[in-house]
Symmetry: C2
Subunit: 201 residues, 2 copies
Amino acid sequence: MNKESVLIVVAGPSGVGKGTVCAKLFDDLDSLDFSVSATTRNPREGEVDGVNYFFVSHDKFNNMIHNSEFLEYANVFDNKYGTPKDYVLKKLASGKDVLLEIDVQGAVMVMESCPSAIFIFILPPSIDDQKTRLINRGTESEEQLALRISKAKEEIKYAEKFDYVVVNDSIDIAANEIKSIIIAEKCKRVRNKKVIEKLIK
Amino acid sequence: MNKESVLIVVAGPSGVGKGTVCAKLFDDLDSLDFSVSATTRNPREGEVDGVNYFFVSHDKFNNMIHNSEFLEYANVFDNKYGTPKDYVLKKLASGKDVLLEIDVQGAVMVMESCPSAIFIFILPPSIDDQKTRLINRGTESEEQLALRISKAKEEIKYAEKFDYVVVNDSIDIAANEIKSIIIAEKCKRVRNKKVIEKLIK
């Protein structure tokens, strides 16, 4: 049964564990593919163009913005990162489901550029828990930590714009919930019109 | 995390295997409960009132119809069968998810009486497959068989009114899809408003 492919956007505040949760998904779902981002930063050792990133010049990146070739993009310090629309659409057309694991601002941009995508927000079990995670990273000063927590609280407000919320209390449960959302979305009647038509004929 | 309970309605043409698929679900989902129907027919040996059915008189059943106490009901030969609204609501309030495995006409009635329920239509992989299943039952005459197939085709048209469709090609896959739909629906943002509010506060 060929089900329509879906674009899944997974976002959440930084430190919520979205990378770990999404990595687990790929063990279970053969149909799933990560997107590859374009970036203006230089490749690090071992990174392959077209696999880890599409490495492009600042000029090329700006041109792509100008031509609306990104589903979303962002500035991170002196570099730009973005999701090429064309790459994602080709993957979807080939029958693959595509997962974008991005930050909240990026997800909000995708809501504009591709409203038919499925938007999942990963929540921390509590703000205290989120704080502990960030402390355990050991990379933040007291001041940075306070800033990040206040930013996380602001970002969580955007959960109101998402289709689904998944609480990352247990990585296994959270990954299973996202997997279930993908399977369920592919069973939606609106995505299976041809299946019904074929039976009625 | 206390997620809001959901009412799931699983329907499909007769012989599509919805009973077998639903039975498998209960092995996996602790939160799930079957509904108990009310009926005017007499209890068979070993059947317990309130467990297998609520056995009620014709007068009582008619009163319940009159008082809109059913989510759906139907006549089957000389007897009536129905899903008591009160029983289902109490189950939901206690935190259980409730599954109704009913025929297509019953599901359409629940769309009126409880539009917030989740409606899943089980489809046969093909009309030929559906025919083979009915032949293998060995209980139908040639004429009955033709009638059932034509009825199935008519019923499949109602799939257009459902939220999800699940093709019963493999019982395991179909059961897993329904399980995924239930998990996903419980992750819907609209069912987790309190979770988000608590974090933002």
